[in-house]
């Protein structure tokens, strides 16, 4: 703690050095039609003055020399607002921006210096334009942020149609996914084909692949920060859609006009309704569906205080007759309070709860039992943004996290062929402090220097075991509930810098260390709701990842295109894998089944983007490598991580054909995943067995796919009611991409081994009807 206080003290003293005769302009930027606050809008003093962008709550603060100034406020997709002010004192300026009406011709706004990728010292960050999502083709026509980010460089998809993703060679459990600051543990519905994020309810998505800012911590590879819409403060509005798989509806509106609002959004699939048509009683009593709700309320208490309450509830259910049922889902609840202490200090206080549970219920004649598992956490976060007089920015804060992991336990009913089996739950506390200083040294150089301190404590009560190198149990210790079983302290430096070469190009560099104390154990190719979590303990050490990256950014062809090239190298410590044939189910000695080692990944990412005009989209290409070394796997030699792919390319294009029609196209190509194929065969009990040697030394066939979409929005004279049709074709040339490769004996000659390619989806058309009022 003393280190922390000293650290803050040093940072606080920094701004005092700067001069102080300027006045401060502060306020919020919001959308004129809905009152929704805008994240990342730019506020800039004309003629070479200072600039600042709004934070994740739409707030800004800018120091301006006294006298007459013209301020330009801009945001992608909105009309620019110019304000001429005569400053004689500090001034509050809340700005409303108007959304650009559809532009058919390219409009390049002169003299507008957006907070472009060129100028921000932040690197490795991608923002998704939620508006754009509706024109990017996706499977079943269900637009999805998690599938769209897989089209970006450095992000590899977890499999056909899957919402799982890997960032820069990291593990699937190393992505911190936040929904209004609450951790979402399981991001998929229906075994991965849909994400838990209903894009109707989402305002902003940012993905950090590198140079991870100090305010984030806990997952080693990336941060995906998803913010929900606050709800229209001015009018009651609705939006919805009816698709092949699911229907959705959103309502938003003011509770008190201009001051408070609500947003409520829901979604449900109805594939299982077809089951009801079956004459078979067992089938028509079966189910297979998911639903989710997002809700948010916000109250602008006064000029300085805003309160937000938001929540998510989602559930998947599948069952067969009354014999078997299986359901799982996430819940999150966030309460936030934005407070403006003074013009320069903005504070956010959050209280967050989130959990993930699953339940299995089996009522067969020979087995009658229930399995349930829960992981839950409670967070308290206090964050400050301090805007200095020299227009630098200091962010600092304290985060507290309490986590409880209750692994799958079996409770048997009476007269059943199964015993009760309880597995002890595990508790942990994380206390983090951070500070991060964004410093504009001069016109060319700006840096973000930060440090996060992570304090992890594994808590009792419980019995903790020690294991030898072969995983054999050799010690046992029992702790009471007040005991600290293990303490880990980690310092996580974060640093990034930008050097502006000229008005058209810049270079950036960054370094970050991130640690992780929650680990997901999965030994199947796709992640399942039943995957188990463990927290750091005496045996399991925190995962530590160091990343360096460097990049080159430039505008090409005027400002119409943005080119980014980033390269990275990552060192990973304390990575986890299992022993051969590990028993991960309800195993008291689970930690004895784990193996620990290291990883490395490196790569080069290119993306050429066009955001303006009739034709927009991007071309991205990643060249990368990701490896692990975990004794005794692969005899202790380095081996390819499963998600290792040499080439990964996507081309996404959106074209506005006319006022009514917009076309979309997405092409993807990547090297097949690293897999283990048999390298020989032998016979045991007269059946063929396959002989495996090197881990992940073989390759799936290359993957490629082309998706198309078209959106039709008829013009109508009714002002309020709009409807549109989205048509899509997934896998347009019906490529049979291998989901699995299976080796089987030939039915006639069992000495001949046939190689089967199992493909999941062929060509899939889709249609969705959307409406808005």
């Amino acid at each position: 703690m003393r280190v922390l206080i000293l650290f803050f003290a040093v940072f606080f003293s920094l701004p005092q050095i700067s001069k102080g005769q300027d006045y401060v302009l502060n306020g919020y930027v919001s959308d004129s039609s809905s009152g929704e606050r805008l994240i990342g809008s730019t506020i800039q003093v004309l003629d070479g003055g200072n600039s600042v962008s709004t934070n994740s709550y739409g707030y800004f603060s800018l120091s301006i020399p006294k006298g007459e100034v013209t301020v330009l406020v801009s945001h992608v997709g909105y009309e620019v607002e110019l304000k001429t002010l005569s400053l004689h004192t500090d001034q509050r300026l809340d700005v409303e921006l108007t959304r650009q009406s559809k532009v058919l011709d390219e409009v390049v706004i002169s003299n507008q210096r957006e907070q472009s990728i060129l100028r921000s010292p932040q690197m490795g960050q991608t923002k998704l334009q939620i508006e754009e999502l509706k024109n990017i083709p996706v499977i079943f026509g269900e637009r999805d942020v998690l599938k769209t980010i897989q089209l970006l460089p450095g992000v590899t998809s977890g499999g056909e149609g899957s919402t799982d993703f890997y960032v820069r060679g990291g593990g699937g459990d190393q992505n911190l996914i936040l929904l209004d600051e609450a951790t979402v543990y399981n991001t998929s519905h229906l075994l991965g084909f849909f994400s838990t994020f209903n894009s109707d309810a989402i305002k902003d998505v940012s993905l950090y692949k590198g140079g991870i800012p100090a305010q984030f911590g806990g997952r080693a590879s990336s941060v995906m920060d998803v913010k929900m819409l606050e709800g229209n403060k001015k009018d009651l509005r609705g939006e919805g859609g009816i698709g092949l798989i699911a229907s959705r509806l959103k309502l938003e509106g003011p509770l008190k006009k201009g001051k408070s609002s609500f947003m409520l959004s829901g979604r449900r699939t109805y594939a299982d309704l077809f089951l009801k048509l079956s004459k078979d009683k067992d089938i028509n009593e079966s189910s297979l569906y998911f639903y989710d709700f997002n809700t948010k309320l916000n109250f602008e208490l006064d000029d300085r205080n805003t309160l937000f309450v938001s929540g998510y509830f989602g559930r998947d259910a599948m069952s067969y007759s009354d014999l078997f049922s299986f359901d799982w889902g996430n819940r999150t609840a966030t309460m936030r309070w934005n407070h403006i202490f003074n013009q320069k200090i903005f504070s956010n206080t959050s209280l967050i709860y989130s959990d993930f549970t699953y339940n299995v219920d089996v009522q067969a004649s020979n087995a009658d039992f229930e399995i349930s598992s829960v992981i839950q956490n409670l967070n308290f976060k206090q964050d400050f943004d301090y805007y200095t007089s020299s227009n630098n920015k200091l962010k600092f804060g304290l985060h507290f996290l309490y986590r409880n992991v209750n692994p799958a336990s079996i409770s048997a009913r009476e007269n059943t062929g199964v015993n009760d089996l309880g597995i002890e739950s595990r508790r942990g506390i994380e206390l983090d402090g951070y500070a991060s200083y964004e410093w504009k040294w001069n016109e060319r150089i700006s840096t973000i220097t930060g440090l996060r301190i992570n304090n992890f404590m594994a808590l009792g009560p419980g019995t903790f075991y020690g294991f030898d190198a072969d995983g054999i149990r050799e010690s046992e210790e029992t702790y009471r509930s007040s005991d600290i079983v293990k303490h880990y302290l980690n310092l996580e430096p974060r640093w990034s810098m930008r050097y502006l070469l000229n008005a058209q190009s810049s270079i950036k560099a960054s370094y970050n260390r991130v640690t992780q104390n929650l680990h997901k154990l999965t030994n199947t190719t796709s992640s399942l709701p039943t995957d188990q979590y463990v927290i750091s303990s005496k045996n399991v050490k925190p995962q530590v990842v160091d990343q360096v990256s460097a990049g080159y950014f430039r505008h090409v062809f005027g400002e119409r295109y943005e080119l980014s090239i980033e390269s990275y190298y990552k060192w990973m410590q304390n990575q986890i894998d299992f022993r051969n044939g590990a028993d991960l189910q309800a195993n008291v000695y689970l930690e004895g089944e784990l193996l620990y080692g290291k990883g490395r990944s490196y790569g080069l990412e290119w993306i050429l983007e066009k955001n303006k005009g009739r034709l927009s989209g991007w071309l991205s290409y990643t060249l990368s490598k990701s490896e692990r070394q975990i004794d005794p796997i692969n005899n202790g030699n380095w081996y390819n991580a499963r998600q290792d792919r040499m080439h990964d390319l996507s081309l996404v294009l959106m074209y506005q054909l006319s006022e009514k029609w917009t076309l979309g196209s997405a092409f993807t190509y990547f090297t097949g995943n690293a897999v283990t194929f048999p390298r020989g065969k032998y016979e045991i009990e007269n059946q063929t067995m396959y002989y495996y040697t090197d881990r992940n030394a073989d390759r799936m066939p290359d993957y490629h796919r082309w998706d198309l979409s078209a959106t039709y929005e008829p013009k109508n004279d009714h002002k309020k009611w709009h409807s549109s049709w989205s048509f899509g074709v997934y896998n347009a040339y019906n490529r049979k991409n291998a989901y699995l490769i299976d080796f089987r004996e030939n039915e006639i000659n069992k000495n001949q081994i046939d190689t089967y390619r199992v493909a999941l989806f062929g060509i899939i058309p889709s249609v969705t009807w959307n409406f808005k009022f």
Partner: protein, 261 residues
């Protein structure tokens, strides 16, 4: 867990399709395979020793003829096995007994392979019969084995089945991890899940030791969905594939009865 995997794979394969493709596979250096499966059913015991072959080899296996094979009990009494061709080694006068720990010694051109296995006590079956179940609209027959699991130790069971005098096939192994000491029911079907009325079923039920259970359990858990398939962990030293098991086995012969409803 099995239910979950079953349901998940059903969902996955509702829309999938498959075809045979030509995919070049690499070949590994040959490796020795030892299948030493001893039992209490007769005095005749066979140990098979072979080498792995290429995946596309027309031969199912390559027998090793020059090995020296023997099994030793805890008192140092040695049973020698003699080669009868194609890598099969035989001893016609050896019937292992319950509770005894045996040691396998195999010498192939000076390379030594050893393993230990203990014959567990047998757990008697209380009832044996058939049930008929409807799964997703189709009727299936299952052979039901009921028995009292002994609470005092961990027990491991292995089933093999032959239908209408066909080949004896591996069905599954199970442990009493979730039902120790209970009155347990195992439901079994043949490999293709197509038992029908009138089928003559021969079932061998064995109790096995934990290392042998581990071997077969890893084998049966390796599915298409495994992230990284590997060779089942062998209890034989020096990196040989295969296993050494001294099982306690009973055989049952039953006929699938008429429609039960």
């Amino acid at each position: 867990m099995k239910y979950i995997i079953f349901l998940c794979s059903t969902v996955l394969f509702l829309s999938s399709c498959e075809d045979i493709i030509d995919l070049p596979v690499k070949d590994a250096e040959p490796k020795y395979v030892i299948e030493a499966d001893l039992h209490n059913l007769s005095n005749k015991q066979i140990i098979k020793i072979s080498q792995t072959t290429r995946l596309n080899d027309v031969r199912p296996k390559k027998g090793i003829d020059q090995a020296r094979v023997q099994v030793e009990n805890s008192k140092g009494q040695i049973n020698r096995f003699s080669h009868i061709g194609e890598g099969n080694y035989i001893n016609l006068n050896f019937k292992p007994v319950e509770g005894e720990r045996y040691k396998l010694n195999v010498n192939i051109d000076g390379e030594l392979f050893t393993a230990y296995s203990t014959m567990p006590k047998y757990v008697e079956v209380d009832t044996l019969g058939f049930v008929e179940e409807n799964v997703f609209g189709k009727e299936y027959y299952f052979l039901v084995v009921r028995f009292q699991d002994p609470p005092e130790e961990a027990n491991f069971y292995k089933y093999n089945m032959s239908v209408n005098n066909g080949a004896m096939e591996f069905i599954n192994v199970s442990s009493d991890k979730f039902n120790n000491g209970l009155n347990v029911e195992h439901r079994l079907s043949n490999k293709d899940n197509d038992l029908k009325e009138g089928d003559e079923v021969k079932l061998t039920r064995s109790t096995i030791d934990s290392a042998v259970y581990k071997y077969w359990n890893e084998y049966q858990m390796t599915s298409l969905a495994s992230a990284s398939p590997g060779n089942p962990t062998s209890n034989i030293s020096n990196g040989a594939l295969g296993f050494f098991s001294v099982r306690h086995t009973e055989e049952y012969e039953v006929k699938v009865p008429g429609f039960l409803k």
